[in-house]
């Protein structure tokens, strides 16, 4: 009896090993070949900053018909572009990442695409600087990215304290604020399980004649090739990840994209009404990019009609509508169908 079980276990182990070996040899594109340009795309759905609001994300996808009730891709050959900032301020970033991961594969099989861009909040969690801000990493998000064994241990420890009358949420908040070991566990686990996957995304993509980016493209960066921006960002994030995973010591590399105020993840001027940009500058930027319009997020805006998304006569579109409850819960999406722009969701959410 025992020996049968043992043999069965050995068999199972072998099977796992085999599956793992096959998985290892799956075709993974070298980072520098990750695509960031597509043409001839008929339908594009653009969803802005989600900040941990899984429920609203799902409602938008269902509302537009990109998924069915079991959350399977029904978008066919459509492109879904999520413009970054899935993380922080809300509870459920992990669930959103998991759904996007699943839909990526399903959409691709159907001839469509799910493209999640890297936002500044993804950068901040990969590098760890999200912890320097009040209320960015929520208790729910923090817990969701802790390694299971550590979470179980910590949970027990805090429950013990809670029994002496302390509020468990407060206790977790203290852990986020002061417990450096717990932060380290979060960062390592986050980077291993999600950060590496996120770092293979793009900061900037171009579909047909439209450029999509989280923050914006400043004149300086409009002179870069999109591929160079994406590869440089991936390289820099990789250096941080290696330092966090203790694979190499921290360095003082010159940051060209990460945390650059006029870089693609942080630049705001395209979206600011009283900003410093003139239309001539916008034209130069578009000209350098060989694009007709740029879709940006990052700067929240109250959107009641499609005109509220439009700047510079439609050269710039702003899609950070405050979808997350943390920002008022205004569910909106921009749909580009055969070059025609329309707004989804004015009667959904607030």
């Amino acid at each position: 009896m025992n020996s049968i079980i043992r043999r069965k276990r050995t068999g199972q182990k072998l099977l796992f090993l085999l599956v793992w070996l096959v998985w290892l040899t799956r075709p993974v594109l070298p980072a520098e070949q990750i695509p960031c340009r597509w043409s001839g795309v008929e339908k594009i759905v653009v969803v802005g900053d989600l900040h941990g609001d899984y429920d609203h994300f799902v409602e938008i996808l269902k509302g537009i018909g990109l998924v069915d009730s079991s959350l399977s891709w029904t978008g066919g050959q459509a492109f879904l572009v999520q413009t970054g900032d899935v993380l922080d301020r809300g509870p459920d970033a992990r669930k959103i990442f998991d759904l996007i991961r699943k839909l990526e594969t399903e959409a691709e099989a159907a001839g469509g695409q799910v493209q999640m861009l890297i936002g500044n909040h993804e950068e901040m969690n990969i590098t760890g600087i999200a912890f320097d801000y009040e209320d960015y990493v929520t208790v729910e998000q923090f817990i969701s990215f802790l390694p299971e064994d550590y979470l179980a241990r910590k949970q027990k420890e805090l429950e013990k304290k809670a029994r002496r009358g302390r509020d468990i949420r407060h206790l977790w908040q203290e852990v986020i604020d002061f417990d450096l070991e717990a932060r380290k566990k979060y960062l390592v686990n986050f980077n291993q399980k999600y950060g590496k996957w996120i770092a293979r995304k793009n900061a900037v993509i171009k579909i047909n004649d439209t450029v999509f980016v989280h923050g914006g493209i400043s004149e300086e960066f409009s002179r870069w090739k999109l591929e160079d921006i994406n590869n440089r960002l991936r390289y820099e994030l990789g250096v941080f990840q290696k330092a966090i995973l203790n694979l190499s010591p921290p360095t003082d590399m010159k940051l060209e994209i990460v945390y650059r105020s006029n870089g693609p993840l942080w630049y705001r001027e395209l979206a600011l009404a009283n900003g410093s940009l003139s239309e001539e500058q916008v034209d130069r930027i578009l000209n350098n990019l060989e694009a007709k319009q740029i879709i940006v997020a990052h700067t929240p805006r109250l959107i009641l009609t499609i005109d509220d998304m439009r700047r510079f006569g439609g050269k710039i579109w702003i899609v950070d509508t405050g979808i997350s409850q943390a920002y008022g819960g205004h569910m909106r999406a921009l749909i580009i169908n055969d070059g025609q722009f329309s707004l989804w969701g004015v009667n959904h959410g607030k």
Binding site: D132, Y133, E134, D252, L255, Y259, G275, S276
Partner: protein, 271 residues
């Protein structure tokens, strides 16, 4: 009816007083040198009336704080992000405070007054928030020209010298604020400065300097300077700062040698 009239009268008088106080405060907030200390006092002690988080923009996501000490009201910018070097992404309110100490030591008036203060359990820097100002970028976009071009260029020249000293971005158009009435020039956002680089900014050549600033720099005692900034800067950061100070003095002396004093030094025009 009579009651209502009285009420109206009282209301109007109170509004006038409030307006007066507000005007006095905004005058005050323009940073007259001798009132600096009072302003520091105000920032340090005034009651916090309101804190607005996530409105100011900027990567450090500073808070906008409304203050009231019973005599005057005003708004201020609170930065609390604290990632001093050797962090891989350095940015800290300590560098704001260090820059302000230098600004005072050199008797420059290009930084709005800023103090260290604790708010909502967080340590940070609290700086007078200038109102009714435009950025240099906005000035250029709107095509506004200063009434006294020379005075304006002099002010920018002082900014360039200071930027070389603290080793921060050269004439960033969004970090230069201008009061459109007085055309006073301000420089904000030093939270990434003081990189321990013992060189001047490569892309930010010093061409001119006021006699006042050149003299203050020449007379500046390294011991005193070190003392003023040592709570905010590391040894390496201070060492590089002292080196840059010497390099600035040498660069200006060299310019004077090449072009003559009149082409390089100026006596500050008051706007």
């Amino acid at each position: 009816m009579e009651n209502n009239k009285n009420l109206l009268k009282t209301g109007l008088v109170m509004m006038a007083i409030a307006w007066g106080l507000f005007m006095a405060a905004s005058d005050y907030l323009c940073g007259d040198q001798k009132e600096r200390e009072q302003l520091e006092n105000f920032l340090s002690k005034a009651r916090i009336v309101r804190v607005s988080k996530g409105q100011a923009g900027g990567r450090t996501a500073p808070w906008i704080v409304s203050l009231d000490d019973g005599r005057m009201k005003g708004r201020a910018i609170f930065k609390y992000v604290h990632r001093p070097r050797p962090a891989m992404i350095p940015d800290s309110y300590f560098y704001e405070l260090a820059a302000y100490e230098l600004n005072k030591l050199l008797d420059l008036d290009i930084m709005p007054t800023v103090v260290a203060r604790k708010l909502d359990g967080r340590n940070g820097s609290l700086q007078v928030m200038l109102t009714g100002v435009i950025t240099e970028a906005q000035r250029q976009r709107k095509g506004l020209t200063p009434p006294d071009e020379e005075a304006f260029q002099q002010a920018l020249a002082e900014v360039v010298v200071f930027e070389n000293l603290v080793y921060d971005q050269c004439l960033d158009q969004d970090d230069i604020l201008i009061s459109p009435n007085t055309w006073q020039v301000w420089r904000i956002d030093f939270s990434e400065s003081f990189a321990p680089v013992p060189e001047l900014l490569a892309d930010c050549p010093i061409r001119r300097c006021s006699r006042e600033l050149f003299n203050s720099l020449s007379r500046l005692d390294p011991g005193l300077l070190t003392n003023k900034v040592k709570s905010y800067l590391s040894e390496q950061e201070i060492e590089a700062l002292l080196k840059r100070k010497d390099l600035i003095i040498a660069a200006i002396k060299k310019l004077i040698e090449e072009q003559g004093e009149e082409a390089v030094l100026f006596t500050k025009k008051k706007n």
